[in-house]
Symmetry: C2
Subunit: 389 residues, 2 copies
Amino acid sequence: MRIVDIRERSASISSSIRNAYIDFSSMTVSVVALITDVVRGGAPVIGYGFSSNGRYAQGGILRERFIPRIIEATPESLRTDVGDNLDPHKIWNTFMANEKPGGHGDRAVAAGALDMAVWDAVAKIDGQPLWRLLSERYNGGQCDRRALVYPGGGYYYPGKQLAQLQEEMRGYRDAGYRVVKMKIGGADLDTDMRRIDAVLEVVGDGRNLAVDANGRFDLPQAMAYGEAMRGYDLFWYEEPGDPLDYLLHATLAQHYPAALATGENLFSHQDLVNLLRYGGLRPDRDWIQLDPALSYGLTEYLRVMEAAEAHGWSRRRLIPHGGHQLALNIALGLQTGGAESYPGVFQPFGGFADGIPVVDGYTRGHDTPGMGVELKQDLYAELQRLTGD
Amino acid sequence: MRIVDIRERSASISSSIRNAYIDFSSMTVSVVALITDVVRGGAPVIGYGFSSNGRYAQGGILRERFIPRIIEATPESLRTDVGDNLDPHKIWNTFMANEKPGGHGDRAVAAGALDMAVWDAVAKIDGQPLWRLLSERYNGGQCDRRALVYPGGGYYYPGKQLAQLQEEMRGYRDAGYRVVKMKIGGADLDTDMRRIDAVLEVVGDGRNLAVDANGRFDLPQAMAYGEAMRGYDLFWYEEPGDPLDYLLHATLAQHYPAALATGENLFSHQDLVNLLRYGGLRPDRDWIQLDPALSYGLTEYLRVMEAAEAHGWSRRRLIPHGGHQLALNIALGLQTGGAESYPGVFQPFGGFADGIPVVDGYTRGHDTPGMGVELKQDLYAELQRLTGD
């Protein structure tokens, strides 16, 4: 059993959307195929992975550092002790060798794509859906039959007016979602409050609406928005300020009574520990959103969950960012609070299996081995560009 | 006045050395040349930059994100308002456009190399040594005639014994250095204490010796080393633990009375603010070591200095890591506490101008326009590979 080849390329996920911080017109992700000599169903097992949106493709780091370290390692050093499968932890340690501590940024994104391909291969070799494998290995066999999902939408499309925003939200509700999310911070407070009111006309209760400032605010702005929104009891108020400004979060949490959420721009368990130590977040209501496909992969996400629980947080307060199938497999198999979804944007990487609907705000797992990419036709076509002839 | 071209390549700085965390046998850096249409001395002004050691070359990020953003910008948007020079702050904002907050890692290294080339060009266009330009623009004309420098050495060379370590240190002292530095944490405590004692036989007082654990220790190990070394009154005890484990630093600072130093693996002013808020470091004795060539460049280092002073720290407590000429120019023109030096390793990027000696542990600035790379023959030859015919 060995890894025969690892291929990577960059794929566009450009969208004519922007949040409060960046536009996505030139956004890219890294796509990885890990080809093994293990045969299942008459064909070699290939694990597929991709990085999540927001931080660009990382081909340089994959080609120059991570992939060569794996290819140069002995096959024995990458397998389980009994040799019946690849060992994701050994592979992670191998591609992270000679990397200094700290500096968790682009490197974490490259690792996210690569590690995803490893876990997809491991689940395929094991003949199980990834969510079930995770349940058995790390959750005592427990799992969820369905996971809360919410669409990451409500962007500032150029020229989009309130009526179009309401139409977008009606579309999500018609598609089976209950909680929806919209961007704030890309306009002034009055404009954003009108946008929030317009969306509430569609979704009703504030508990059905999350808002996302994408780290744009300083403390006075974050407090002003918090003050304006405090009567709405929103599902959450996401990324109010710079992800590393723990003091801002701690101060806001003392004044804003409803739920806060952050973490998609923290990329390691070390950074999460600092958020939990210093960010003043409340384990009974706030949400942690690290994205495994941006932050060193599922292998690191296991450490993220361990760190959260060591600080007294339930894994139900974790909702991984990214809207990809890895997050959904984690949500089901490891019983987090749910997962983001991208039914409308970042295609073909956002969203889940084609044939499995969202019902009452929840979706279910797949039954095929691996992460399930073969069940999402447009995604699988994109991934196969790495391995097709 | 405009930027005609920006070229980059990766260069090897491989060394058969290791610290407590990584070996440097496949270490690389990014080298950048920024070619302008400004003519000085009959030739176009070219700014040169390079990243510092420890975090690898970043060609992917430079080629795919940063350089295209500058090349696609209008020349007017990259110049000073009066149009007499390039504006490093505008250029920095241009290449960092559409980059999300947080995640300060490899991206910061790519920016470090690019921003260095910008400042080298700006000082050349201005006809001044960079240190003098910094003094005039940001330090009210004040500067230091000489800067404290110490050699970053004392690695674990394979097979190196105590006698060889002493010989290395005698070489530094003969070359004019007073304070020397050695690695710890790559062996057990007893072995490291014997190595420390051996070096003290050469350099005498503990105030002449800094030790560097490169982030290797957990808290019990960091405390055990601190306890063993507390009687030596060392110049500093560097990177005792993970650079993001602020609680470890705060705890150690309560027990270890002599100076601590850290920061080479923090890559933004946001991360420094967290170290100062939560790391328990003491502004009367401890040292901050962010490396401008690894952490978004001199442009960000100005924010680093501002953040340090806003938290009550003197800029004299800052000693930039990296052993390169950018750090020396900063030390002289902005009056930090000094700069690291690499007389022996990471060539040709470590070290300063060929003809300017180290005397009694201090070295002086150069007199030519720019950062001074033309005065270091082996470095200039390497940099010219980007622009030669």
